[in-house]
């Protein structure tokens, strides 16, 4: 039977068509259209978000069971689109400042976005692979977006080479799974696994697939690319990397673990355990001696992915809900943090060393106080939102009796608090350096404002977001 119901994929289709259209506009009109295309892209994303909220979230599978829209993927998509809007809004001015005015930038972000949206809807390993690659290829290009810059090119090449390696692992894993199961739909795998027929072949395939995704979310020990790429890529791209793809890849991982692989929770639990443990420890320790803010954020994201994964190891609805909440809060905090980092310019130069933040509280008090709030939140100090993110994750770990993992997580979060607090100390107690430009564009203030509002006001109504995440997690476990 041919299934022509495309309604559940409306936002993706709309975005893909828009991206093509904008590409044509750009190709004919040249780079001067960057600003128009960017804001048009933001508009299109908002429209897609609107569509997403209007369609029924229980429409089920489409395109011959290649994709599906359920509550989980819909909620994740909402936040992916919000993240895309934020990263586009943050980057426009940056491209002009850095003199890399090329109209492909917003189009690449839109295409990466389409890939991510499809990714979390995938119900088949092939559609998963295609969507993942659409996303990854866009990211590789973005990493090398400043073609003339040595660092940026290096970052692009590194990311691409290692990404290719991980894609290879993914495909190899998928082929092993096919060998074990005889099908590639998630349901087929789930059925075979649930029947108790867990062959070593299936497990090895699963390990490959998880490793490939661990690369995408930069979980240790597949994290080595992250600091180099974060530092090398143009800052706007780094912001994008930090804000959105992590959420999408992690959502995909959740979908796999709680779907086709759910019957093998005993096995993947061990893999995730190791990944979470290593990530938290690496994220905490390696960042201690970093001088570059972008590198610091890279390690911070490694550590935070580790905390998010602690919730997954619990393999319970509460754990999944905790992980999702953590990821979303982290996304908001990162957006705010990069709104500030992108504004750190002196003259024509971006300044990114920690020492450049000295005395920011006197030269740009609003940025300094905003950053301080976000950093407090990231280090998990109440009453900021970050505290509750960590709280629910560790709560889930304790409920699943993962005492060792929980304890190590807490200890490493204490260590990690050091480098967040060090930044605050530098901003508030060190004598100011030369003034920072105060030409921060309005869009960046908006992103920062939303982020700060989320971080500080979360405590007053935590139930709203938490209930949303609970319903997302529940929908995975019912089906």
């Amino acid at each position: 039977m041919i299934d022509f119901n495309l309604v559940p994929l409306m936002p993706e289709i709309f975005l893909a068509i828009t991206a093509m259209g904008l590409l044509i506009v750009g190709a004919f009109q040249g780079n001067c259209t960057l600003r128009v295309i960017s804001w048009f892209g933001v508009g299109a994303l908002c429209l897609a978000l609107f569509m997403l909220t209007r369609i029924d979230w229980h429409l089920g599978a489409v395109l011959n069971n290649m994709f599906e829209l359920d509550t989980f993927s819909a909620i994740v998509k909402v936040f992916i689109i919000i993240g895309l809007v934020a990263s586009l809004a943050l980057s426009v001015r940056y491209l002009f400042d850095e003199n890399i005015v090329r109209f492909e930038f917003p189009i690449l972000i839109l295409l990466a976005g389409v890939g991510m949206l499809l990714m979390v809807s995938a119900t088949h390993f092939l559609s998963l692979y295609v969507a993942l690659e659409l996303q990854s290829l866009s990211l590789y290009v973005l990493a090398a977006f400043r073609r003339t810059g040595l660092r940026s090119s290096e970052a692009g090449v590194k990311y691409f080479t290692l990404g290719a390696l991980s894609s290879g692992m993914l495909l190899f894993g998928i082929s092993l799974i096919y060998g074990a199961v005889g099908g590639l739909a998630f349901d087929d795998v789930a059925m075979v696994a649930a029947a108790g027929d867990v062959s070593p072949l299936l497990i090895v395939g699963m390990v490959f697939v998880i490793s490939a995704l661990a690369f995408k979310v930069s979980a240790a020990p597949f994290h080595m690319w992250t600091p180099d790429v974060y530092q090398g890529a143009p800052s706007a791209v780094t912001a994008f990397f930090a804000i959105v793809p992590k959420l999408a890849a992690m959502a995909l991982l959740i979908k796999l673990l709680m779907g086709p692989f759910y019957a093998m929770a005993l096995q993947w639990g061990q893999v995730l355990y190791a990944l979470a443990l290593l990530s938290t420890v690496v994220g905490a320790f390696a960042a201690l001696v970093q001088d570059n803010v972008k590198r610091l954020m890279a390690y911070s994201s490694i550590g935070n992915m580790g905390y998010a994964m602690i919730g997954l190891v619990a393999a319970s609805p509460a754990g999944v809900s905790a992980t999702l909440l953590y990821l979303v809060l982290y996304m908001f905090m990162t957006a705010g943090a990069f709104a500030i980092i992108l504004s750190m310019r002196r003259g024509d130069l971006q300044v990114l060393n920690i020492s450049d933040f000295a005395g920011l509280s006197q030269t740009r008090p609003f940025l300094a106080y905003g950053f301080a709030i976000i950093l407090f939140s990231m280090s998990g100090i109440p009453p900021m939102a970050g505290f509750f993110g960590k709280l629910v994750v560790f709560e889930a770990a304790m409920e699943a009796e993962l005492y060792v993992l929980g304890t190590i997580g807490v200890v490493s979060s204490v260590i990690a608090a050091f480098y967040y607090l060090r930044l605050i100390k530098v901003m508030f107690f060190d004598p100011p350096e030369d003034a920072i430009n105060d030409d921060t564009p309005f869009a960046r203030y908006v992103v920062l404002g939303v982020s700060l509002a989320m971080v500080t006001f979360f405590i007053f109504k935590p139930a709203g977001l938490m209930d949303l995440m609970d319903s997302a997690a529940q929908s995975l476990f019912i089906s």
Binding site: L162, I203, V204, S211, F285, A286, V289
Partner: protein, 723 residues
Amino acid sequence: MEFLAVFTPLLAFVVAFFFGKALGHKGAQVVTCAGILLAAFAAINLFFDVALGGNARVVELAPWVISGDFAVHWSLRVDTLSVIMINVITIVSACVHIYSLGYMSHDGARGRFMSYLSLFTFAMLMLVTADNLLQLFFGWEGVGLASYLLIGFWNHKHSANAAAQKAFVVNRVGDFGLALGMMAIFVVFGSIGFDEIFAQVADKADVTFDLFGMHVHAMTAIALLLFVGAIGKSAQLGLHTWLPDAMEGPTPVSALIHAATMVTAGVFLVARMSPLFEYAPAALMVVTVVGGLTAFVAATIGMTQFDIKRVIAYSTMSQLGYMFFALGVSAYGAAMFHLMTHAFFKALLFLGAGSVIHAMGDEQDMRKMGGIWKKIPYTYAFMWIGSLALAGIPPFAGYFSKDIVLEAAWADHTWFGNFAFALGIAAAFMTAFYTWRLLIMTFHGKPRATQKVMGHVHESPPVMLGPLAVLAIGALFAGAVFYQPFVGGSGHHGEEHGAAVEHAAEDSHVKETDVLHVSAEDELKKIGAEIEQEVKAVVSQDAAHTAHESDHGDNTHSDAHGTGHDAEHGADFWNSSIQVLAENDTVTAAHGAPLWVKKLPLVVGVLGIWLAYILYFKSPTIVPRLVEGMKPLHTFLFNKWYFDELYDALFVKNSIKAGKLFWRGDKNVIDRYGPDGVSAVSVAISKGMSKLQSGFIYHYAFVMMVAVIGGISWFVFKFVVEF
């Protein structure tokens, strides 16, 4: 109304403190004064609504802490007890706010000063409107903070900083007791809400704690722990040393915080917890003894001091002692009555003293004053009114309240009641003495200040005299007007009396506690009726006397024939916000005290005034000889019974010694192997990790492959082991 009364000062504080720079001093002054005046207006409205209209209520605002069995809400409990406090606080605070406009007019940070005053007022209001112990504790600590900020307001003075710290630290000791008491209450009652506690008190009267093998009576332990908190806050003997030093703060602060309101928080706490204290007779005994001793000791010290503010401070401490022994003999109404009248006349005295200090160019030593009464006649008159009220001369406010306190102590007919009565009479004598000593030394005799200072002596501006006038009205009339409602009747408690039960049936606004007692009404009704018969008999014996007292100025309740009506009015007025067991009802019994008990306070008061007149006015030459003759005693009193020196030797020195010891241990053991060691190791690990981050793609790829192969090997290994 209650929102307006409680939250306007908070709003004023927020505006004046956070936008003080933008508003300027003028703006901050206007905002805070407007706020407090609005609050005072609302408070007076509340008084008519709640105390006279019998409209007590609890307004829930928001949940605060909900954790398992522990649930606490922000709420405003507005009953007679709290509404009296609200009125005292807002009215005195309004006077002090206005007064401060003049008194602080040359201070560089007067806007901030006003905002602190508003903050204090808000915290104090939170304290008295609390519906549970945690909110009370919040207010308790809030007033402590405001007190700290205001004592040390002139922070360029070393002595002010030291005094502020002393007040804070000494109060910590008391707060610790209060916190322990709260915890004990939660253990015993499973709640810290007042209604829940009071409803269970009668059932849990015999509960005991097992502590280190001893059986401790729970109610006594709780009551004593709460009382420790009260001792600290209300500067009772033992934890009183901070109060005299607190006089380092600006005078309006002394008037508001250290005379009228904050220091009475302990009295309020005991009155609020009266249902619980009633079941802890041993604790009440302790309260009585401590109160009596405080009244006495403070009065003896007050006689020897020369700093005008310190004299009044010791007088405050002494009067607080009166309130406490009134509480101790279950005369809660009398204690609250004295609290209210005292708030008026003591604030008046303090602000009057402030006016003198202002006039003398910041001179506080009475030895350098004298002979200025003609130059500042209004201040002089106001000081007379305050002094007459303090000494208990009719018809001033202090006469009524001090008398009922002393009569209640006598009417308790216990050894500690008599003890407190004796000490109280002695203190009353000394009170009158040192008050006139102050008046005479300050205003009469030959001028002892320099010519230059004398030339500058001037009457305070109207903005300072206005509040004095308001307070003077309180000091004049508060006693006579409020005598009947506060302590006038017989059955002013809501316990097992027949009267209370009848009320419960009539009145739709009865409190939960009453309703509970109704359940046992059948058998109690008989007993209640009998008791009431007796009570009426006792009271009617004294009807003539009551009528006589009513003539002094009160015409609203002077129905001499209707003691029964009075009885009901008393119960109505308190509306169960304080509760007394039938056998402890000393306020009623006090009305039956013999004439000599009733007149003795007045007699000794007049004697004290006469003695002061002789010694300081008529023949001042006697004093030095007298002091010489009683050198050891005088030195002992002048040095405040050596409390400070004792505490310094016992606690302060040893604490510093212990602190140094621990500091060394901390630095050499814990720091070296703890924080310093761990951070060194962390940095070493971090550097090692950075080295792994070589930057070469093939290294990265290698690590990835090793990880994958490691993972697969792990599962293969397990698989092999299983088979």
